[in-house]
Symmetry: C2
Subunit: 308 residues, 2 copies
C-alpha cells in the first residue's frame, strides 16, 4: 500500500467558454506533499483559495497551451505570490510565446518580482523529460490541437525496497537504510542473507497523464501506456463528433477508447462544453467503452493509483 499522497485536484472543468458554474482548466497535483500546478485558467488563484490551499506551496507550473482558458490566470497568480512576499523560486513551463507574454505584462505593470521566476519553453513533443526532482519526473506529450499543445506525464520516482515484515527483527537498525537500497546482509557469525530474502520490490511507481486539449491521438499510447490515472478532455458527445474533429477536441467515447487502448488504471474526464448542463451525458458515453471512468468536478480530488 502506498502511504504517501499522489492526488489531483481539479479546480475547473469547463471548456473555452466559462458557464454553468464551471471554471476554466487548472489542476493541482500533489506528490508526497509537493505541489505542481497544471494549466492556470482565469480565476485559478480564487479557486485555490476556495479549496483552502496556500498557493505559495506551488513550486512548478506547467502550461499546456496558450488558449485563454488554460493560462489567463497565470499573471494574477504570479503577481499575488509576489504581493504576498514570496521569495522561493517559481518554475513555469510553457510554449515559447509564454515568456514574452509574462515579461511584457510585468514590465507594463512596473513589477519587479521579489522571487526568482524561471520560465522555460517546451515544445510539443512526446517523451521529453522537462523536470525531475526527488519526487517526480515530468515528461511531455504531443497533443493534437489547433495550436501547439503539450500534455504532461507525472511519474513518481521509484521508491526504496521494502523490508519483509518477518525479517525486520533480524536486521540491525543501522543496516536498514542500506538493505532498503539493495545490499545483502552478512551476520557476525559469517552467515549471509541475500537482499531478495530480506526485502520486497518497491511499491510500483504511480503515474498520471494529463491530456487537454486534444483530438483523439493514438500516437500518445506508447507514452501513456499503463498510467494509473489518465486525465483526458471530453469536450463533446458523439453526436458532436464532427464539431470535435473540426475543433481538434475529443468526444467522451474517444477519450475512453484511448484509455482502453493504453490500458490505464482510471480515466478522468473534463473540459466539458458549456452546452452540457450536466456532464453525466459524457460519462454515459464513456463507461461502455472504458468502465473505470470518473467525471472531474470543481474542487474534486482524485487519487492516482497503479494498474498493478
Amino acid at each position: 500500500m502506498h502511504t504517501s499522497l499522489f492526488t489531483i485536484t481539479t479546480l475547473g472543468t469547463g471548456a473555452a467558454l466559462p458557464a454553468r458554474g464551471r471554471f476554466p482548466t487548472s489542476q493541482l497535483v500533489n506528490i508526497h506533499d509537493n505541489y505542481y500546478l497544471v494549466d492556470c485558467g482565469e480565476g485559478t488563484q480564487e479557486r485555490l483559495r476556495a479549496v483552502g490551499f496556500n498557493f505559495q506551496r506551488i513550486g512548478h507550473i506547467f502550461i499546456s497551451h496558450l488558449h485563454g482558458d488554460h493560462y489567463l490566470g497565470l499573471l494574477g497568480l504570479i503577481s499575488s505570490m509576489h504581493l504576498m512576499g514570496r521569495q522561493t523560486p517559481l518554475h513555469v513551463y510553457g510554449p515559447p510565446e509564454l515568456k514574452p507574454i509574462i515579461d511584457l505584462q510585468l514590465r507594463a505593470s512596473g513589477t519587479y518580482l521579489r522571487y526568482p521566476l524561471h520560465v522555460r519553453s517546451i515544445e510539443p513533443t512526446s517523451g521529453e523529460v522537462i523536470h525531475t526532482d526527488a519526487h517526480v519526473t515530468v515528461s511531455t506529450l504531443a497533443l493534437r490541437h489547433r495550436i501547439p499543445c503539450t500534455g504532461f506525464v507525472f511519474r513518481e520516482q521509484p521508491g526504496q525496497r521494502r523490508l519483509r515484515t518477518e525479517r525486520v527483527s533480524d536486521i540491525p537498525r543501522f543496516k536498514r537504510a542500506a538493505v532498503k537500497q539493495g545490499e545483502d546482509l552478512e551476520f557476525p557469525d559469517g552467515t549471509r542473507m541475500t537482499n531478495a530474502e530480506l526485502t520486497l520490490d518497491p511499491m510500483p511507481a504511480r503515474s498520471y497523464a494529463y491530456c487537454s486539449d486534444t483530438a483523439y491521438e493514438p500516437a500518445l499510447i506508447p507514452f501513456i501506456q499503463g498510467v494509473g490515472l489518465l486525465y483526458h478532455e471530453a469536450t463533446f458527445t458523439t453526436a458532436m463528433a464532427a464539431r470535435a474533429k473540426e475543433t481538434l477536441h475529443s468526444t467522451a467515447a474517444q477519450a475512453a477508447q484511448l484509455a482502453k487502448e493504453a490500458a490505464v488504471g482510471q480515466l478522468l474526464l473534463g473540459h466539458f462544453s458549456s452546452r452540457y448542463k450536466s456532464a453525466d451525458v459524457l460519462l454515459k458515453e464513456a463507461l461502455p467503452v472504458f468502465p473505470r471512468t470518473l467525471l472531474s468536478y470543481e474542487g474534486g480530488s482524485f487519487t492516482v493509483g497503479t494498474t498493478q
Copy 2:
C-alpha cells in the same frame, strides 16, 4: 426628476491582492441603457454573469492602468465575447502598452476575432475628450500613481428642454419635438408664445468621475468639480498614511477631502486593502470629512445624481 438611468455597478472592491471575498476592480456604467465598462480585473466576466448581465451589451471598455488587478480579466472577456458570436464592434481605451499585450495574446492563441476590436491609446492627461456618443462624453483625469494611470469623467449629454405641464395641451403634437429643441410657437390666430413660456430648462446633466488608483491629487479638482458622484480609491486608513504615500494610494480621509474640495454630490469609496476585514473602518474616517460618502460593495449598484 431624471427618468433615464445613470447607474454604476461596482463588480469588485478589492485592492491588488484579492482576498476576503473582494474581487479586483471593475465597474459597469449604465447611461440610458448603454453600457460602459471601467477597468476589468481578473474574473470580471464571471462577476458580470453573477449580476445577471449580458456582457455583449458593453460597447466601450476603459482601462485606467496596467496593474493586474485592473485589467487581467480583459483578454478573457474579449475571448468570451468572440466565442459567444459577437459581431458588433468593441472599443477599448487604455495605456499604449495595452494594444501589444492584447495582440500578442490573441496571436499566441490563434484567435481571429469575428468582431471589430478597436484598441486606442490614452495618455494620462486631464480634460481630454476620448469618447463621445449620443448619451455621454468621456474625458480623462491625470491620476497620480506608480505607473501611468488615467481616471475618467462620464458626462451625460444635455437633455432636451422640458414642456411645461400646464402648456402641454396648448402645443400641437407635431410641434412638440421642435419646441423641446427650443422653438417658439405661432398659433393659427397669429398669437405667439416664446419657448421660455412653453418649456423649462433641461434637467441638469449628470456626471460621474472615476479615480482609481491615485494618491491624493488636488490638481484633479477643476476636472471633477461638482460631479454628481465621485468614485475615489480608499486603500488605507489614516494610520497607514505613510504606506499610502509610498505606494501612491489614498487614505479614506484623503478621498473625502478631495470630494469636499471638489464639492461633489456623493463620494463612493473602493479599492480596499485586504488588511481590512470590513471597509467600515474606512467609511468611519471619511464621514467626518465628507458626510455624503458611500462604501462600494461586490455587485452594488449606485445612482448618479446631480449637485443641483
